[in-house]
Structures are given as structure tokens and as C-alpha cells.
Symmetry: C2
Subunit: 608 residues, 2 copies
Amino acid sequence: MFSYIKRLLIGRPLKSTELGEQKLNKTKALAILSSDALSSVAYGPEQILIVLATVGAAAFWFSLPIAVGVLILLVALILSYRQIIHAYPHGGGAYVVSKQNLGMNPGLVAGGSLLVDYILTVAVSVSAGTDAITSAFPALHEHNVAIAVLFVIFITVLNLRGVTESASILAYPVYLFVFALFVLIGVGLYNIAAGNVSPAAQTSIGEPVAGISLFILLRAFASGSSALTGVEAISNAIPNFKDPAPKNAAKTLAAMGTLLALLFSGIVFLAYSYGIAPHAEVTVVSQIAEEVFGRNFMYYFIQGTTALILILAANTGYSAFPLLAVNLAKDKFIPRMFTVRGDRLGYSNGIMILGISSIILILVFKGQTEHLIPLYAVGVFIPFTLSQTGMMVKWIREKPSGWFLKLIINSVGALISFIVTIVFFLTKFAQVWPVLIFLPIIIFVFHKIRKHYEDVGDQLRLTTCEPAVPIEGNVIIVPVAGITHVVENSLNYAKSLNPDQIIAVYVAFERDEEKKFEEKWKKWQPDVRLVTLHSYYRSIINPLTKFVDIVEHKAKESNYQVTVVIPQFIPKKGWHNILHNQSSLLIRTFLLYRRNVVITTVPYHFKK
Amino acid sequence: MFSYIKRLLIGRPLKSTELGEQKLNKTKALAILSSDALSSVAYGPEQILIVLATVGAAAFWFSLPIAVGVLILLVALILSYRQIIHAYPHGGGAYVVSKQNLGMNPGLVAGGSLLVDYILTVAVSVSAGTDAITSAFPALHEHNVAIAVLFVIFITVLNLRGVTESASILAYPVYLFVFALFVLIGVGLYNIAAGNVSPAAQTSIGEPVAGISLFILLRAFASGSSALTGVEAISNAIPNFKDPAPKNAAKTLAAMGTLLALLFSGIVFLAYSYGIAPHAEVTVVSQIAEEVFGRNFMYYFIQGTTALILILAANTGYSAFPLLAVNLAKDKFIPRMFTVRGDRLGYSNGIMILGISSIILILVFKGQTEHLIPLYAVGVFIPFTLSQTGMMVKWIREKPSGWFLKLIINSVGALISFIVTIVFFLTKFAQVWPVLIFLPIIIFVFHKIRKHYEDVGDQLRLTTCEPAVPIEGNVIIVPVAGITHVVENSLNYAKSLNPDQIIAVYVAFERDEEKKFEEKWKKWQPDVRLVTLHSYYRSIINPLTKFVDIVEHKAKESNYQVTVVIPQFIPKKGWHNILHNQSSLLIRTFLLYRRNVVITTVPYHFKK
């Protein structure tokens, strides 16, 4: 039943050897890995204008130099990450680069913030996309949270089906969005060139503006650079590419950078040229589209593809999170289960944890995750800074041919990323402070987990641990609840093992019951020793545990092993389980975790 | 940790021999078992007036004859239940009486509707009491649901502590409520006698009223008789009384009937004399109290004790539900776990199930459970009718001395209860139809459960089942994950049992890994046969299960028993469990439930 539903949702299991077929070509990779970065042009330019609007419309011309700044940062990041892709062809991104060049803890800072960040990505972008849809259909507005959760479940299932199948579905909306924005920018620029746009709406470039300050400009710049989140996704996901993976990844990165630069600068320029001011209810892109097309088909096409790509931006998180988790799990910082591939060869545990965590975030924030955006941006720029710094160290250490140019590229990237990070802390501290709490906690937990795995390794290794104590003989304890077929079954099994001693144990609640049972037993199993225990408090476990303790203590002296044989009913139907007292399960758990006894479960399958 | 909190909440465990000390004397029993019935005078008279108000204030005088009708019903019920107490001194009430005299299915109808009814009692009365409190403190109004849930948890914990301790706490509010109402009625009657009340407010008795119909009078009567719910509680709970239990119970029942009759008729008479009309926001009792005292201390005292007793009415459900559940469980209609006494000698499973179910009801109805009242009333009058009818059959069958008078008493009770039930269905069908759905379902489930227990009994009894197949020899399968100390441990244990064969099984995901492992194994354990299985789908369970199947099939031919030895890590700290793949648990569950193999768990306790 469960496995049928599973098969229906995620498809037939794939053999490990089919792994190569699941890899991505460049077109699909661009779609699957760029939706996060590309979708941010839907809100990045607006973020700049919102900050400038606090001074006044006269300050809007500053959006042009700020956009140039963002573009420089973008170019620096793309070039830096290109170098990372070639230097680390097995992927891992910021975590691997920081760890190898800067040391364990900087690596964990990068890895930890990215891990949390991908969860934020999913929650924030799905909520934003849902808002866009319910703005179009206000009747759905009250179901916002439910819709967002359904989208997360849908994307999770797509990803559990496997990487290429989800890419096929995801490719269309991403390319449609890019196409729609290019049409918008093209028609918009044509209108300007044709003189259809009144220049009166524009503020003059270079004119001094009262009230503008470096603080505000930096804040606008930091806000604008939130459009660059998602740029690192490709360098994390190199193992998902078809061979030659690094080369294909680098080309995809370049294509994404070009698209992002064109769309971002196009939107900023149109917003400036059409004299658009940010507005609480209508987005900047929507205003531009209305100015350019009016409320016709193209307008709704742009709005629709924007909503879609915002939701699909979540998918970037689904590609990057499981791969990062694999790297952390291989280094033993998070549970090993993240390294296991599921039926469809995706890292299904990572995918599910990501889905569940982001659903929890959406529920906790009731779908209003907008104010998480700065937190999410700072969580990206910390690993940006660390990985670029790591690359600087690498070039200085290794000094390969042409290392100086490479060093300069990464240095510029590191410096700008660092400045953006600092600006976030200075200008938006009220929203980004949680990162200072949760990063130390995460890193503490990482170390705790690794410590445990290392301890376990030490204890399991044959060379380092004490040799096993030889077992000289066996004592078998059989708790009995009555004179039934099940007890007979367990006793037969115990006898067949020829132990040195079999002890049947009966726990009685009343005195006369005790006597009666002993008499019956003598007739039924005269050769098996019976011990009856009296329970004053109606508990079976307490007297049984005490008895097992005594036997184990004695057995230990002569290196005997104590085994407790517990019968377990296996009913025909699942719901029958609640009709049985489950004392066998309780006894088993209790003895196994507290004492050094072997627990043998003899199943008794009911026939009806 | 868990056991410490448990001890703190419900107290130290009690020995089974301390049971007698936990029994109730009459004063405490009256408090603990009458709160449901007595609390209903807070809303019963009002229910009558609400129906009459649909015709007009002129019809209010009909409340007096209707109250007389309700009093007759009350007297009939009290006399009938007095006879039940003496005839069935071991308790069980409607379920036992109906079952023994009318047959199994009428008994189950009575038992099933009471079972659901007690859950409704708790939900409805706690919600009503919470409403009364939050009406006094409107700031708390938005937390209604949370407050109601906390009250249910509080009462549940009280009852888990044990019957007498909860009675001590509960006795005060019940007696305070009775005292408060007697003062109210006394002062009210004095005012009337002293001529301080204007007779102008009253409608003349006996005057014909336009629009009044038999339907409305019946409806008013049915509504008024909702004040009689809870009358059966004492006859269900006889085993909780001190010896001589039936005599004490009968006296308590008489006392409760007298109190209920006095309070009910007093309130109806005062409401009529003061010319009070039902009002959406202020209860009838509150209006009377305001007329009699004004808004002084006594007014708030009456309101406060009313709120308290409404919440405590829930406690009646806690006394009756677990005892009814024991009776049903002894007859195998519900899971056996309801017959087990907890640490404090109460039937803790019944208490907890009742608490959880009523919390669910409160959450589902968001604390607005008022419209469940008719459903709840009909759920009481069905077992009333059945048990009185059962008593009729008993008298006719057994014909003890004075049987004819007894027969008449129960016949009157049965007839009136039956009429009330029919009136509920005729006049409030929109609210009581669910009973027609859930009763058949419950009875179906009852029979299903009993069928299962009987099947199990047949299969366990040594006389009826096939003799056990003798075990000729043992094959032990040890799944191994590597060459580690844990595997060594498991192999040592398997060897110590001297089985006919030991097979180590290794599941490999990759071909070269397979070869390497086989070579290592040959050096390490040359005398243990190793079988390597290749897993194409990265599953350990599938290939292992298939292999176990083959071995089991062969072993069966010569009556060999197959045992699978599974090592299990026992970490030092609980949270470490999530760091291990839990494959041992998965393999165990899978093999145990699907195949006929014995599962032996060898614990490996980590030292750090």
C-alpha cells in the first residue's frame, strides 16, 4: 500500500548504474540552477528604489550607478566562481573551498549558513510566488499558507522523482520568463528610442540631491545585491552535470551571468527611464509592463511567468542543499543518512528534510516570509566572502601559472562580498542579527556530531578496541504470561539452542494466582525451571528487570551470556496491533537499552 | 526524567493492596458523581424557557407543569436506578443491565452511546464553564480554547492521581454551589412571601395561549429533561464506593435526587415568579441572582460557583467512562489495555483516552460545543430507555417478592425515557442525526474487536491448536556491514549457540567492493561461510529478504529454524540514535512481520 503510493508519486526505482543518465545537459542545468538567481531580478531593482525613495524621487538617478556597482559585483562573482569550478571540479562550493584553504571552522561557517539559507530560499520564494498568484485571484488569498505548502510538497515530489525529470518540467517556465522579460526590455527600449516616453518623468543624472548620504547609498547597494543570491548554486552542483562537468558548468555559469546582467540592467534602466517609483501594492516590474504594454496579454504573461519563476526558484535550493549535505555528511558533521541515494538516485533524505523544514518555516511565519529576505541575503554573502578569501589563499600558496590575475579576481570578489556583508550588518541589523545566534549553535552541533562519529569509529575498529570477551556458555530467560501455544513455541526454540540453563519467569499480580500457576507448570513443563515474581505495583517490567539484573550479574562472573526470549504476536491485519498490550515491545526496548542481554524475538504469526 | 515528571504529577505508585483505601465515602461520592447532574440545573430551566419564548412571554406559565413533568421523570429515574443498584451491586449501569436482560446488541447500543456521551460530557461542560469564566474576564475570551484544554488536562491529571484525592479537591465547589443556590432560592422565596416581588411580571397560570402546540410543549419538555443527564453516573460507579457499596450508592443516589429536585423546581419557580425571560447574553440563573441580590458579593459568588461546577461536571465523565470501559474490555469489545490499573490504581488508560478525545472535540469545535448538547442528551436517554426496559424484562422473568411494584416503577421510567428519546428525534433531528451514523459504526467495531480476541484465544489455547512443530536444528544468518568489533561480537554469540550452520551475509553496492570484502573476510573468519549479495537498487532489505526466503524455504523441509542475528548500537546518549542508520531496526521489523524467522538482537553498548 505505502510502497504503491510511493511508486506512483516518485516512479520506479532506478539501478545505481543508471546514474549517468540522470545527469544534466547545459540547457536543462541553466533552467534548474538559475531560477533562483534569475527570479531575483523580479525584486532586486525594486529593493534599490525602495531605499532611494526614503530620500525622494530626485534620488532615483542614483539607481543607475548603484546598478553598475551591482553589475561589477556580479562580474567579480561570476569570474571568481568560474575559477572555483575549475579548481574544484567535484563541487562543494563555499564549504569545500573554505574548508580546504581557510580551515575547518571557516568551512563550517560557510556550510552552516548555506544549509540554513537554502531552507530560507525555499520558504521565501514559494511564499513570494504564492503572493503573486493570490494577488491575481484574491479569492484564494485566505488559503495562502495552504497553497504555499502544496507548492513545496509538489516541488519536493518532483525532486524525489529525480534530477532530470524535474528539470524537464522546470525548463519551460524559466525560459518563458527570460523570453517575456527580453520582450519587455526590447519593446521598452524601442519606445524610448522612438521618443514615445516623456523625459519629464526622469530625474537628471548627476544632479546633487539633498539628504542623500553614503549610508543610504550603501544600503541601496546592499539591497540591490540581494539580486545576486543564487549565483553560487552552479558551483555547488557540478557533480550533476554531464561530462565534461566542470567545462559545462563554467559555460552554464557564464550564460547565467550574462542573462542576469542583461535583465537586471534592463529593468533598472527602464524603471529609471519611465520614472517609476516603488509602490506598496504593485511591483516595479508590473508597473513597467503596464507602461510598456498596457493591461493586455503581454502584461499578464509577464506577471504569470514571474509568479512561476519565483516558485521555481525554490528548486535551486533542492539541487544545492542535498549536495552540500552530502559533503558535510561525508566529513561526519551531519548524520550519515544524507549520503544515501534514494530509489530515484537523488539524495532523498536531504530533499525531504529541506521540504519539511521549509514547510515548518512557512507555517511558523504564516506565509509572510518577506522580512526574512535580508537574513537570507546575509546568509549568502558570508559564504561568498569566505570562499573568495579561500581562493586567494589557494593562489598565494600554490602559485600556478597566471596566479596573479586569478588572485586579483578573487580578491576583488572577496572584498566586495565582505563590504556587502558588513553593510548588511550596519544598515539592517534588526533583521540579520539571528545569524549571529544560529551560526554558533549550528557549528557547535556540527562538532558534537563529528565527535560522536569519531568515538564510534574508534570503538568499532578491531585494531583499537579491546578484544571481545569469549562466551563460555548461555543462560536463556523466557518470560511467560500463561500456559499457551506461544509459550510452548518459545520454549521449544530455547531448548533447540541447547543452552546451559533455561529459566521461565512468571510475573504474578496476586498471591493465589502465583501458587496455581506453579502447580500447573510442574505438570506441563516439569523439566523447565520456573521462577515466579510478585509485582506489588502491577508492573511487569520492574520485577523482570530486577531478576534479569541478578542473573546477568552471576552469569558475568563465568563469562556466560544471558539471552531473553520474547514472543511477539504478528497479527494478520495491521490494526490488530493496538489490541495487544505490546508488553513484548516494551520489555524488549527496556532490557536492550539498559542491560547487556541479547534479546531474541520469536514471532507468532496469527492465522486469522 | 520522564518517570520523575510522572511521579511529580500523579504521585508515588500505590500497591495493589492499597485499593480499599482509595474508595469513596458518601459525602465525597456525592460530590464526585453528582457534579454533572447538579450542574445541569444551571442550564435546564433555561432550555425550557427558550422553547416557550418562541411562542411568547405569555407561554412562560407552562414552565411550571413542564417542570412537574421533568420532576416526575426524575423521580421515576431515581427509583429505577435505585432498583438497578441493588440488583447489580457490581456496577456497570445501562450496559450491563441491557446486555444481561435484552441481549448483546442492545447492551452494545447502550454501552456505545454512553462511551461517546462521556466524551461529549467532558467537552461540553468544560467549554460551558470556560465560557462562564471568560464572560467575567473578557480579556481572556480569545484564549477560550487554550483555557478549556488546560482545564481538561488539569482534570485528567487529578484523576490519574486517583479517585479519592480528586474527590477531596472536587467536594468543596460542589457543596459551595449547592449552598449558593439554596441561599438564592431561600432569599428569593422570602422576597415573594414578603410581597417584595410585583406579581405583574407573571403570566397567569392556566390561561390559554395562542400558538402553543403539543409539539412545542414536548420540545420544551425534552429540552428541560437535558437537566437529568448524569443521573446514571452513580449506578455505573458502585465499585468505587466503600462497603457496603450498593447501600451507600443507593443513599447517595437518593440524596442527589433530592438536591436535584429541590434546586430544579426552585429555579423554575423563581424564574416564573420574577417574570424572567431567556436572554442571549445573560443566563436565567444570573438574572434571578441579580433580581434577588443585585450585583453584590452573593451575585458573584453564585456566578463563580456555577462556572466551577460546570467545569467539574466533566469529572463525572472521568469516574464513569473508565469503569464502563473496563466492563466492555472484559467482554472483549474494546482493547484489553482498558482493564489495566495504573500506578495510582485508577484505570489510567481510560482516563487518558477520555482526556485526549475530549481535547480533540474541543479543538475541532473551537470550544463552541453548545450545539452538541441535544446530541449528548439523546445519547443519555437511549441507554436510560434500554436499561429500564432491561429491568422490566428482569422482573417479569425472575418475579421476586414485590416484583409487580418494581415492574411498574421501571415501566414508567422506560416509557418516559422512550418518549423523551422520540421527542428528541422528532423535534431536534437536525442536531441528533449523527447518533444514527456513529452508533452502528461503533457497534460494528465492537464486534470486529471481539472477533479478533476470540480468534486469538482459539489459536493460543493448547487444547484447540495444532501441536508445535519440533525444531530439528538451527541455521543462523548474520548480516555483516564490515569487519568491525560489532560483527565480531555477533559472530561470537552465534558460535556460542552451536548451530548447525552460520552464514554471514554481506550486501554490496559496487562490484569491486564485493571482491575486496570477500578476500578480507577469508583472512579474518576463514571458518565462517560468507555470502555476498549485490544490490542494484541500493537497498539492503530487498536482497537480504530474498536470501532469507531461500534459506528459510530449504530449512523448513527438514524442520530447521532460521535465526537472524542483528547487531544494534546502543549509544550513550539518546540523541545519538538519529546519527545511526537504524537499518537494524528496519531489517528487524521487515523480517519479523513478513517471514517466519527468529530475530536475535545483540546489543553493542558504546562506551563514549
